[in-house]
């Protein structure tokens, strides 16, 4: 029943913000209202189609016997995602009213609307081509938003880097789609998933591998993770929405959605490996960063790796739950970082420390968010860990506990470094800032309880077992360790992060990227020179004809006796030729 209605408000928002000047109609008003509308419609659909499945197909175009269809799906999984996406988007847009009030309104709200449109479309797509379209649109809106402050060279570079790296994923995704379509004749995701047995194994494996690459690039996992930290050049609200809660999660969402395909392809063991590598790299990089947003970026990579790990251990629904919960507390954390930037003008944790921000209004939500991130009960993260780890084997559980420790460590490093003493300054709070933060904080605190209801929406399994208990204890250990190391900066161990920095400089492999870039440039220069040589070869043919001509001019000497000789010789030649011919 007209699922595209979910998307329609965002489309309207895009059009209006593109064409109407802010002075005429406030862009932010358009964006916020339209997003609310989307939220409303999504919720309505969710309610109406609860536990029902509906697939809608539209025929886009056909070529001979092939039909290229656009297909939407309404079931619990997808509609829930739609609700979550529109809800988080709404909160962030409200925050944007405060955060972006001095920036170019139309551009920002247009690009944000474009993004939300794409993300919503992605979660309700049942057609691979539609999915790809929205996937690509998200890349583009991300590119535009990262480059929002385009005059800064850092932002411009980061945007380019992000798009090129995600484009690798896009190309992989497209190839995978083509492979599947060629084998099944349908673009419908649901149809493909039910018809997996008819596809040759080699194509299943190849397409699964390509899907993984696509997911890895979009979700900034190893080896594609380098674009996300640089993407922090974007306005913080953008980071909150795209680069923590939604876009980067879409990689995981892709794998969750096509889980059946992944599980018959035999690639899961590699995914486990990649996820574990990512976890460790990102945690260590988070430990040595001094920029609030960069720390959060690495933490996002870390969290996403958890989701991938869940998928890899055959627990897609657990991954989904974590995805949703992560969206809540991660966006909270980014909004807080944004608040700090607007109010205090810096992202550097040491400078913030110096500003003595100790008010409860700042550190309480931060604590809630970071505790969720670390997995400390009774916050959101703890419950998320419960379902995430359902299928973990012993070895993975052990490794995971180390990961939890690291996560907790860097989270609270951030906390204790920034929130140190209480300064006495008066800060004016903006309501637009307060509402989203408050909402998200509350959700992060009590939201964990939803784990128990979640089963009716999507069947998930969770267990509160020994592992979980150990895990939460370790998280707490991390908290205390962080307190011990970082809250008093004069303590010798506080210099730890500087030491780590030098060790892990290479892990960001910017140099590798740069030299690859140079190599490609050199190669293309070579090709260009070949091209030049080719052109000259053709030119020389032309000059050859000139030389030939100058030589043959001699034939026409002007001397009559010459002519006569030629004449007679010619006549004899003709005679001979004729006679010979006989």
């Amino acid at each position: 029943m007209m699922l595209y209605l979910i998307l329609l408000p965002m489309l309207i928002s895009m059009t209006l913000t593109a064409f109407l000047k802010d002075k005429l109609v406030r862009s932010r008003l358009i964006a916020v209202s339209m997003t609310s509308l989307s939220l409303l419609i999504s919720s309505v659909f969710f309610y109406v189609y609860f536990s029902k499945d509906l697939i809608e197909n539209f025929s886009w175009f056909n070529i001979e016997t092939y039909t290229f269809q656009i297909s939407f799906i309404a079931n619990n999984l997808h509609l829930l995602m739609a609700v979550v996406v529109s809800f988080i988007s709404l909160l962030i847009l409200i925050f944007s009213v405060f955060y972006m009030r001095r920036e170019k309104q139309e551009k920002y709200y247009f690009e944000m609307s474009l993004f939300i449109f794409a993300m919503l479309g992605l979660v309700v797509s049942n057609s691979f081509i539609l999915f790809y379209i929205f996937w690509e649109l998200m890349s583009i809106s991300s590119y535009l938003l990262i480059g929002f402050w385009y005059e800064k060279e850092a932002a411009s570079k980061a945007a380019k880097k992000a798009l090129i790296l995600t484009k690798v994923g896009d190309v992989s995704l497209l190839t995978a789609i083509i492979i599947l379509f060629a084998n099944t004749g349908t673009l419908s995701i649901s149809a493909t998933l039910s018809g997996l047995s008819s596809i040759p194994q080699v194509y299943l494996t190849v397409s699964a591998a390509l899907f993984i690459i696509a997911a890895l690039s979009k979700s900034a996992q190893f080896p594609f993770y380098v674009w996300l930290p640089d993407a922090m050049e974007a306005p913080t609200t953008v980071s909150a929405l795209l680069h923590s809660a939604t876009m980067v999660a879409s990689g995981a969402f892709l794998l969750i959605m096509i889980a059946p395909l992944m599980y018959v392809s035999g690639t899961m063991v590699y995914l486990v490996l990649i996820s574990l590598i990512t976890i460790f790299i990102s945690s260590l990089l988070a430990l040595e960063s001094v920029d609030t947003k960069r720390i959060l970026a690495y933490s996002t990579i870390d969290s996403l790796a958890f989701m991938f790990l869940a998928v890899a251990t055959l627990n897609p629904d657990g991954a989904l739950f974590y995805l949703i919960m992560h969206a809540v507390f991660k966006s909270l954390l980014f909004l807080l970082a944004g608040e700090l930037i607007i109010l205090f003008g810096t992202r550097n944790i040491f400078k913030l420390r110096g500003l003595e921000i100790g008010k409860p209004i700042f550190y309480v939500p931060a604590f809630i968010g970071l505790a969720s991130l670390a997995g400390i009960p009774p916050f959101l993260g703890f419950f998320a860990h419960a379902t995430l780890s359902y299928n973990f084997s012993i070895s993975i559980e052990l490794i995971f506990m180390v990961a939890t420790f690291l996560t907790s460590l860097f989270s609270f490093r951030l906390f204790f470094t920034v929130y140190h003493k209480n300064g006495t300054e008066k800060i004016r709070e903006d309501k637009f800032a307060i509402i989203p933060i408050a909402t998200l904080s509350i959700l992060s605190t009590v939201g964990g309880a939803s784990l128990f209801f979640f089963n009716s929406i999507i069947p998930i399994a969770y267990s509160f077992d020994l592992f979980l208990v150990l895990d939460s204890i370790i998280a707490l250990l991390g908290l205390f360790a962080a307190y011990y190391f970082y809250s008093n900066r004069d303590f010798p161990y506080a210099k730890l992060d500087k030491k780590l920095k030098s060790i892990f400089r290479g892990v960001t492999y910017d140099d590798v990227l740069a030299s690859t870039g140079t190599a490609i440039t050199k190669f293309s220069g070579l090709v260009d020179r070949f091209e030049g040589a080719l052109g000259e070869a053709f030119d020389s043919v032309g000059s050859l004809s000139f030389s030939l001509s100058y030589i043959s001019r001699e034939l026409q000497s002007g001397d009559l006796s010459n002519y006569i000789v030629i004449f007679i010789a010619g006549a004899i030649l003709v005679m001979i030729l004729m006679l010979v011919g006989v």
């Binding site: 690509e136 060279e153 411009s156 090129i164 484009k167 190309v171 497209l174």
Partner: protein
């Protein structure tokens, strides 16, 4: 029912009107006459798509089966659409380079217009050839009369290369005539469609080589950089947007109607060549510092991909190739128009000499983004459909060829570098005072973007007009 002859009438009348204007020294601007003629043709085309077209036949000489016959075959319509609509949107750019002999320019422009339209409508191979030659001759003059200093050499190279390809095509047509006794496409098709012989394969090979020269595709593309770069902006747009399709069109006629079986033998080698050419062009585009050169090689990249699609021996690939050709036929004029604008404002198209244009001329930046996104295949723009269908078709033919999709990555690389260089970061340029797009430029860019987007969202407009079985 609109008789196809009506489609060229406005153009012919336009040329006559221009001549009269010269003789009577009237003050009507030449360009108005051109626009009127082209607009009328567009209107007639639209009416024709609604009410249907009827054929036209005028026999000139029975002895050599020469007649001017206009009949639509299964693939005419998309190309006609391109040929009728695009030049009108390209003409305004003449103000960048044409400072004198405006009347002659308009005459040449209309001659090219009419001859190409006639070419796409012709069902008699000989008259098709004649119209093609007329358009090439006019193109030669157009390139060298209003190009830059080295335009004669480039025009000469263009002429010689395309003459070679024309001669090859003529030989192929004559061989077909010898085989079937007719130049008429319908009768030829009936005769040769299921035939298979070395003779026909030779014919096809001749046409193939000719097409490789015309697209152009590596390795016979040496004429292209000079001809595209040295021409006036509007002429480059025509060359890249329209002339490059001629080779593809004739090749398609042979693949679909005349020698389908022979064509299938050549699929593999040509596809490999196309892949090599695509990567070749992409790498060169990556190394170029001049915007116009970059766009020229980019055009070669997409034409290589289109060739790949056409030779893929299945309907999806062929439709994709056609779609890609038409789609890029609108994107590249937009691209070249922007370079023309850039040169007229800053005096250079060198990407190292300008930067940060978004700040000063945001509208230009907007359309530059459209060009970039459209080219790299962002959905919502027409190239995505073309690329998707081509890669799908190619995969169905031989899976490994999908490796060519990596050329898209390289394209993203150089396009984004271009954006970073000239749109983003701090503003600098040889000239400080830049004006954003003027009204006429705006109309051009909006119109072209509109077509690109409409084709991207509603590809069936074009795809439904392609009927691969009908001669």
């Amino acid at each position: 029912m609109i008789n196809l002859i009506y489609l060229i009438l406005p153009g012919v009348l336009g040329v006559i009107a221009l001549y009269l204007k010269d003789v009577t020294h009237s003050n009507i601007p030449s360009k108005s006459i051109s626009y009127t003629a082209m607009g009328a043709t567009l209107l007639l085309l639209l009416l024709g798509t609604i009410f249907g077209f009827s054929g036209f036949n005028l026999a000139i000489s029975k002895a050599i089966d020469l007649s001017i016959s206009f009949n639509l075959n299964g693939i005419s319509l998309p190309f006609l659409f391109l040929a009728v609509l695009m030049p009108m949107l390209v003409l305004p750019s003449f103000k960048y380079d044409v400072f004198d002999k405006k009347l002659t320019f308009n005459v040449l422009f209309l001659v090219i217009y009419v001859s190409i339209i006639s070419m796409f409508m012709s069902s008699n191979l000989l008259s098709l050839f004649i119209f093609m030659e007329i358009s090439l001759l006019s193109a030669f003059f157009a390139i060298f009369l209003w190009g830059n200093e080295s335009s004669f050499n480039s025009a000469m190279k263009f002429l010689i290369f395309t003459q070679i390809s024309s001669m090859l095509i003529l030989t192929a047509f004559l061989m077909v005539f010898l085989y079937t006794g007719s130049f008429e496409l319908t009768s030829i098709g009936a005769f040769t469609h299921s035939a298979n012989s070395i003779y026909l394969s030779t014919v096809f090979m001749l046409v193939l080589v000719a097409a490789i020269i015309k697209f152009p595709v590596f390795p016979l593309h040496a004429w292209m950089p000079g001809a595209y770069y040295d021409s006036a902006t509007s002429i480059t747009a025509l060359l890249s947007g329209l002339f490059s399709k001629i080779g593809g069109y004739i090749l398609l006629l042979f693949i679909l109607f005349i020698t389908p079986i022979s064509a299938s033998y050549f699929s593999m080698p040509v596809m490999i060549l196309a892949v090599i050419s695509a990567f070749y062009a992409a790498f060169i585009a990556l190394s170029k510092k001049d915007l116009k050169m970059m766009f020229s090689y980019s055009s070669m990249l997409y034409m290589s991909l289109a060739l790949m699609g056409i030779m893929s021996n299945n309907a999806i690939g062929i439709d994709g190739g056609i779609f890609l050709m038409i789609s890029y036929g609108f994107i590249s004029p937009l691209a070249f128009m922007l370079t023309g604008y850039l040169r007229s404002q800053t005096g250079t198209t060198d990407m190292t000499k300008v930067g940060g244009l978004m700040k000063k001329v945001p509208t230009f930046a907007l359309f530059f983004f459209i060009v970039v996104f459209a080219s790299i295949g962002v959905p919502g723009f027409s190239n995505f459909i073309g690329e998707f269908l081509v890669f799908l078709g190619v995969f169905k033919f031989y899976p490994l060829i999908i490796i060519s999709i990596v050329s898209m990555l390289i394209a993203t690389g150089y396009y984004l570098s271009a954006v970073k260089r000239i749109v983003f970061e701090k503003f600098f340029a040889p000239v400080k005072n830049l004006h954003d797009l003027s009204k006429s430029e705006l109309i051009q860019t909006v119109a072209l973007s509109f077509v690109i987007i409409i084709l991207g969202i509603m590809p069936y407009i074009l795809i439904n007009s392609i009927n691969l079985g009908v001669v």
